[in-house]
């Protein structure tokens, strides 16, 4: 049963990909969807067995590589963290499959699309179920590949190609870090099996190794490199630029990959390596800082985006920041809880956005929408549920995880706990709550509630989507309404025994109980900020106060809005400071100056030029004049006698060389 979860998507992908012509559009769609659905039900059963009954399952198929101390098995580990991820991946994936049957109805390449979605699901499952780092890396690269294929699905579009390449390359930077991390793990622990690493990790707490005259703390270094991998995959600040651009793919792809599953792989990695990260306070501090900066940055940028999907993409980025910094707070289960909840409401938001885009004839700009509430009441209500859940409205799914993360930052930022540097992330996190609710409701207002900016000819054709598209949305809406409340006790309940060692938290880092005794006033802070965000968004969109602001302090607001709309110019900075110089270096220095310049001149080309040039010079000695020949003969004989005379005195020239010299002399 456990391996069937994995191999059904693979089978579905292969058959609907290679047999797409035979199966036809509908056949391949139905086939692949049913494969993922079965795998979803099987993973529910796995969740029951592993999560509820507490039977951790570890399957080893065969040896993959064996060389000395290095041994890698095809092994599959199903523990609590894995089954949660299984549920997330397969549920979102099967709903997205269901959704895209109808969404991609008019697309001529549907079997290919389904095959890509399936292969993505398969690689994601490999990633989460692996029991060693190499197999995990296989899944890691596989989802990168699938993301490339899916962003690039409409391969005739130039922006799609560009963003796919960007996604792949930026991810690859992180993957390089991850590779280094795996290498250091093998160097340190002599194994890349999770079980071995985690069982001996506490013994390596004070393990240093010397490199370039510096003693590096091994676990910190490993954590750093793994975190670089997570930065690439989870779009943390620094390598986040690929995520908003990845919206060039079809909307179900954005929902599946860039909201619910692939980007959570980085967070999953951090959760999986909780046992290692716990022994390095430095790496926890880095996680905390970068995660909260990402949440803040992406939240702020999301405010001034005008593309419907980019707003949601930045909100994904921001929520990933929350997950990472809650890992930095050593609250891995909260992070995983938020990951699960986020998968539900972000998939809901993306798929509803897809529904809206579908309804208004592929228009993505929110400024050209408005008043859609009267045309799409169902989509509006679903999107409102998603947005409220995202904004952390009380008793919706987002509330249970996000507010708890913020409460934990409040606890940790108290000076008595000796980790008051957390107050940095406390403030950034809280401000991003405000941003989150602001841009969510800006989206709602601009798309659904404000006056209409839609083309008149388009108005007649706006309609609710078909049942196949609405059904996944409704299921996800139920998930984002109730999932948080229902599973709260399972994930983060006080003293829950659900995790059973799959997550490890040092007792000195554990502030769960304290969070329950926070002042009630403090606990209201995130909610107050949410309400403030909603209120401000309503104020600006309903009244004309926005225009007043613009005219009053035009320069400042304009500059600020422009800066944020252009993503803080980070893309431009990267292009000008990094990408273009590197490309220039590659062309002018390494290609033109080195490869085709120095190496060719000193190698084949230079030698051939030298030989032909000097052979011309030498052959010009043969002038045809008899006197010149006589002269050369005499000179040659003189030289020969000279050499013969001084042979013993100066250098020992062998007779062969002399013979050659003699022959050459007479041939000149």
């Amino acid at each position: 049963m456990y391996l069937t979860i994995l191999f059904l998507p693979l089978l579905g992908s292969l058959i609907s990909g290679f047999g797409g012509r035979w199966l036809g559009c509908w056949g391949s769609s139905l086939y692949s969807t049913s494969c993922v659905l079965i795998s979803f039900f099987l993973s529910l059963m796995a969740f029951y067995e592993v999560g509820m009954c507490g039977v951790c399952c570890h399957i080893t198929l065969s040896t993959w590589l064996e060389s000395g101390a290095f041994k890698v098995n095809w092994g599959f580990l199903f523990d609590s963290v894995t089954v949660i991820m299984l549920i997330v991946v397969t549920s979102v994936s099967s709903l997205v499959h269901l959704y895209s049957i109808s969404y991609m109805e008019t697309d001529p390449h549907r079997p290919r699309f389904m095959a890509y979605l399936e292969i993505f699901t398969f690689f994601m499952l490999v990633l989460v179920t692996a029991d060693n780092l190499l197999q995990m890396f296989l899944g890691w690269e596989g989802v990168g590949l699938a993301s490339y294929l899916l962003i690039n699905f409409w391969f005739t579009r130039l922006p799609a190609n560009q963003s796919a390449i960007k996604a792949l390359i930026v991810n690859r930077i992180g993957d390089f870090g991850l590779t280094l991390g795996i290498l250091i793990i093998f160097w340190t622990f002599q194994s890349i099996d999770y079980s071995i690493i985690f069982s001996v990790a506490p013994l390596f707490e004070d393990f240093f190794f010397s490199f370039m005259g510096i003693n590096w703390h091994c676990i910190t270094l490993i954590g750093l490199f793994l975190f670089i991998g997570a930065v690439g995959k989870s779009a943390q600040l620094g390598l986040h630029t690929w995520l908003p651009d990845a919206m060039e793919g079809p909307t179900p792809v954005s929902a599946l990959i860039h909201a619910a599953t692939m980007v959570t792989a980085g967070v999953f990695l951090m959760i999986r390596f909780s046992l290692l990260l716990e022994f390095s306070p430095t790496i926890l501090c880095i996680l905390l800082t970068l995660g909260s900066l990402t949440a803040f940055f992406a939240g702020m940028t999301g405010i001034f985006q005008n593309d419907l999907k980019k707003v949601i993409a930045y909100s994904t980025c921001s929520q990933l920041g929350y997950m990472i910094f809650s890992c930095g707070l050593s609250c891995y289960e909260v992070s995983l809880f938020h990951l699960t909840n986020h998968a539900f409401f972000k998939a809901l938001l993306f798929l509803s956005a897809g529904s809206v885009i579908h309804a208004v004839n592929n228009e993505q700009d929110m400024r050209r929408m408005g008043s859609l509430v009267s045309f799409l009441p169902l989509t509006y209500s679903l999107m409102l549920i998603g947005s409220l859940s995202l904004a952390g409205f009380p008793f919706l799914t987002g509330f249970y995880s996000k507010d708890f993360i913020l409460e934990l930052t409040q606890i940790s930022s108290q000076k008595s706990l000796n980790s008051y540097y957390v107050s940095f992330s406390f403030w950034l996190g809280n401000i991003s709550v405000f941003f989150t609710s602001f841009y969510s409701f800006r989206l709602i207002y601009l798309t659904f509630l404000n006056n209409s900016n839609i083309n008149r000819s388009l108005v007649k054709s706006i309609h609710e989507s078909s049942i196949l598209m609405v059904l996944p949305l409704i299921i996800l809406a139920f998930g984002s309404l109730f999932f948080g409340y229902l599973s709260k006790d399972l994930f983060i309940g006080l003293g829950t025994d659900f995790w059973k060692g799959s997550i490890f938290i040092l007792p000195t880092n554990n502030f769960f109980v304290e969070a329950e005794w926070l002042l009630v006033l403090n606990k209201f802070l995130p909610f107050a900020l949410t309400v403030l965000g909603i209120f401000l968004a309503s104020l600006i969109n309903i009244t004309n106060v926005y225009k007043y602001f613009i005219f009053k302090i035009y320069g400042v607001t304009f500059f600020f809005a422009f800066l944020l709309n252009k993503k803080w110019f980070l893309d431009i900075l990267y292009n000008r400071a990094l990408v273009v110089p590197v490309l220039n270096f590659g062309y002018s220095t390494t290609f033109k100056a080195l490869d085709r310049g120095f190496i060719e001149l000193s190698g084949p080309l230079g030698l051939s030029i030298f030989v032909s040039k000097w052979s011309k010079v030498v052959s010009r000695l043969q002038s045809g004049l008899l006197t010149h020949y006589v002269f050369f003969i005499v000179i040659g004989i003189c030289l020969l006698f000279l050499v013969l005379t001084y042979n013993s005195l100066i250098f020992n020239i062998s007779p062969n060389v002399l013979l050659i010299f003699l022959v050459l002399t007479f041939y000149v």
């Binding site: 010009r620 000695l621 043969q622 002038s623 045809g624 004049l625 008899l626 006197t627 005499v634």
Partner: protein
Amino acid sequence: MINLFNYMNVSIILFLVSILGICLNQRNILVMLMSLEMMFLSVSFNLIFLSTYLDDVVGQIFSLLILTVAASESSIGLAILVIYYRIRNTITVELTNLMKG
């Protein structure tokens, strides 16, 4: 009295003069042939001198052989010269540069 160096010097100077005659001559092939004859002369002179000096008859035999070789060589050379003149109407050395490298 027979002075070794005087006789040797005479033959070597004769040889060098003939070499210079070949090298420096830009005009006339006849002069080159004469210089060649002078070379043979100097060599056979040297051989005769050394045969008397060393009291060995082989040098004189060699010089007789060289005499015959030189006679045949000059006859063949003059024959080539005549044929060349018949074709080109000139025997100027400067103009015999038809074969270049």
